[in-house]
């Protein structure tokens, strides 16, 4: 049975039994090569679910839709390892209760989508641990190496150029499961902390602020870069921050739901290299 058939029948089973009230997955999009998020609530709709290598969006953010989990009922959701990690971060940050979430885990390897064993966030510990080890040995991409080799001044002007294209649509924020604040700091206008204008300073402020807010929380799912209409390589910023927290604190976000957020916790053996 293909992975798609496997999850379709599992969705039917769970919906018929009333175990879950909804399955959040992928369905056909407006063109043959597009997929879109779908919300399945009855067993006969389960055949709309599609799972293949074009399913890239991290769907965990939809779990935070107002009221969705407030009735204590369960929801099933298709997630990759990154997605499961974001689920753990959300649970660690008290945004949801993983006992209400059933995971349809999958991974994309080459030209195939594969199921990952397990159904509860906690079942994926070893898969996440393996991803952490793999990340340590993952080589930097070409552009990242180029950036590292630049002087701070050159790097600054590289990012200034990239950010100059930002149109302040906030698609990066809206697409990010980790951007869960009901009220974002940039939407606070009494007082206005951050310029809303899409000029050089305003764009720098926004993009740097978001990068810092994601430090130690970003799971590198890529939703932000894929959503950005200005094609700004946001993943490079996130990746740099992730490298930093991994090197300094051996912190890999989303290991499990008990993991303390790196910037909101204190350990006696923290390096504290920035404190004189």
């Amino acid at each position: 049975m293909s992975i798609q058939e496997h999850y379709r029948s599992r969705a039917k089973e769970l919906l018929s039994a009333g175990t879950v009230k909804m399955v959040i997955g992928y369905g056909a999009g407006s063109t043959p090569d597009r997929r879109r998020p779908v919300f399945i609530t009855s067993p006969d709709e389960a055949d709309r679910l599609v799972l293949d290598t074009t399913c890239r969006t991290n769907l965990s953010g939809y779990l935070l839709r107002e009221g969705l989990l407030s009735d204590q009922k369960q929801v099933a959701v298709f997630l990759t390892v990154d997605g499961i990690r974001s689920l753990n971060v959300l649970a660690a940050e008290s945004q949801l209760d993983t006992s209400q979430v059933l995971v349809f885990g999958f991974g994309i390897e080459g030209d195939q989508a594969r199921a990952i064993e397990g159904e509860r966030a906690a079942d994926f510990k070893s898969v996440i641990a393996a991803a952490k080890e793999q990340r340590k040995s993952q080589p930097a991409d070409e552009l990242q190496e180029k950036l590292e080799a630049m002087t701070p001044k050159e790097r600054f002007s590289f990012w200034e150029g990239e950010f100059s294209r930002c149109i302040k649509c906030y698609a990066c924020r809206q697409a990010c499961p980790m951007c869960w604040c009901r009220r974002c700091v940039v939407d606070n206008n009494q007082p206005q902390w951050v310029n809303t204008s899409s000029h050089t300073l305003g764009n720098l402020e926004w993009n740097l602020l978001r990068a810092f807010h994601l430090a130690g929380r970003c799971v590198e799912c890529g939703n932000c870069s894929r959503a950005c209409p200005a094609d700004i390589p946001l993943h490079l910023l996130n990746r740099r921050m992730a490298d930093e927290v991994q090197a300094s604190f051996d912190h890999y976000p989303g290991m499990d739901e008990a993991q303390e957020p790196v910037l909101a916790s204190f350990r006696k053996d923290d390096p504290e290299t920035f404190i004189l």
Partner: protein, 337 residues
């Protein structure tokens, strides 16, 4: 016999216009993202693009625009009014849907208030459009009563020659005629056949949609929630739309100096209708999506007798979750039957 411009002469045209002090803009790509930019030669133009990623409206309605400035000193207060920059411009290689979009917004910016920021730029620009011989799956101008060779909003329309070596030239306005007069020695007479325009299928029944939208019964329909369930409320569909025109006025600065700016805004954002009391009349994303559709195909059409959409398809092409107005109007068309 018709007037022709051969591609081989385009570079000289641009040079001629520039010598006359005109700025020349056209579709070009930087950082992988296409938009309208000032160009110095024909080689910088990307005329093969079906459509640029960002729209023409940025040249008339920038993302952010300073309006007023103030500086408070010990003895005096200085204020300054910022005016849109002077300078005549030729915008070459516009697609008919984008040109039509500027005409749609003319109605809005000249309604209860004549917006100088928009019209100073409009009045000093010549729009030279090129009819489309290619379209993609998202193009839908024909559904909005436009066409790949629509002349709406253009000062000059160019029709590509079948041989691919130039265009047939048609002036549509006096402004267009003047722009052509300055390159008259580079234009030729000829009977070269033109290429057929792109085949753009009609995707929905606009009139049926409009009557459904105009029926107050449908304002609270469950349809709105179902169709927009996946919308994440990023504003990119509105920011990339040639006809969306909403803006916010913001003061930036402190007690001593600052600037008042006109910035893009979007009905997709939760803050758009937030009251100071904390109440938000459009509390959900589905209510915001309904506003977007209602505004474009009901309120705007009733008020100005034109839809605030020209079928460029950008809202679908760039939506991170594959939404867009096409699908919604297609669904409304089927609700009719």
């Amino acid at each position: 016999m018709a007037t022709l411009l051969y591609s081989a002469n385009l570079n000289d045209c641009i040079a001629r216009w520039r010598e006359e002090g005109l700025m020349v803009f056209g579709p070009a790509t930087t950082g992988g993202v296409s938009g309208f930019q000032e160009v110095k030669d024909a080689g910088s133009l990307d005329l093969d693009l079906i459509l640029t990623r960002s729209t023409l409206k940025e040249l008339f309605f920038p993302r952010t625009e300073p309006m007023l400035g103030y500086r408070i000193g010990k003895q005096q207060i200085e204020t300054e009014e910022f005016r849109p920059p002077e300078g005549r411009r030729i915008i070459f290689g516009v697609r008919p849907c984008d040109a039509a979009g500027m005409q749609v917004d003319d109605a809005l910016f000249d309604w209860d208030y004549h917006d100088e920021y928009w019209f100073r730029r409009r009045d000093s620009s010549v729009i030279v459009s090129i009819a489309c011989t290619h379209a993609d799956d998202f193009c839908m101008c024909t559904s909005l009563n436009l066409s790949p060779d629509s002349t709406k909003g253009s000062d000059v329309l160019l029709r590509p020659l079948l041989a691919g070596n130039g265009w047939q030239v048609e002036a549509l306005t006096e402004r267009g005629e003047n722009a052509l007069a300055s390159i008259s020695s580079l234009l030729k007479e000829g009977g070269d056949p033109t290429a057929p325009v792109a085949d753009v299928p009609v995707k929905f029944d606009l009139e049926a949609c409009r009557s459904w939208l105009a029926d107050p019964e449908n304002f609270e329909s469950r349809f709105w929630k179902e169709i927009s369930e996946r919308c994440i409320g990023c504003g990119s569909c509105t920011y990339l739309c040639p006809t969306c025109h909403c803006f916010d006025i913001q003061d930036e600065g402190d007690t001593y100096k600052g600037i008042r700016r006109k910035n893009w805004d979007s009905c997709s954002f939760s803050l758009f209708t937030m009251h100071t009391s904390g109440h938000n009349p459009r509390a959900t994303q589905s209510a915001r999506w309904r506003q977007r559709i209602m505004h474009k195909f009901n309120y705007f059409s009733l008020k100005f007798n034109v839809n605030s959409c020209t079928g460029c398809g950008r809202c679908t092409r760039e939506c991170p979750v594959d939404m867009g107005v096409t699908e919604t109007l297609q669904a409304i068309s089927t609700l009719q039957r």
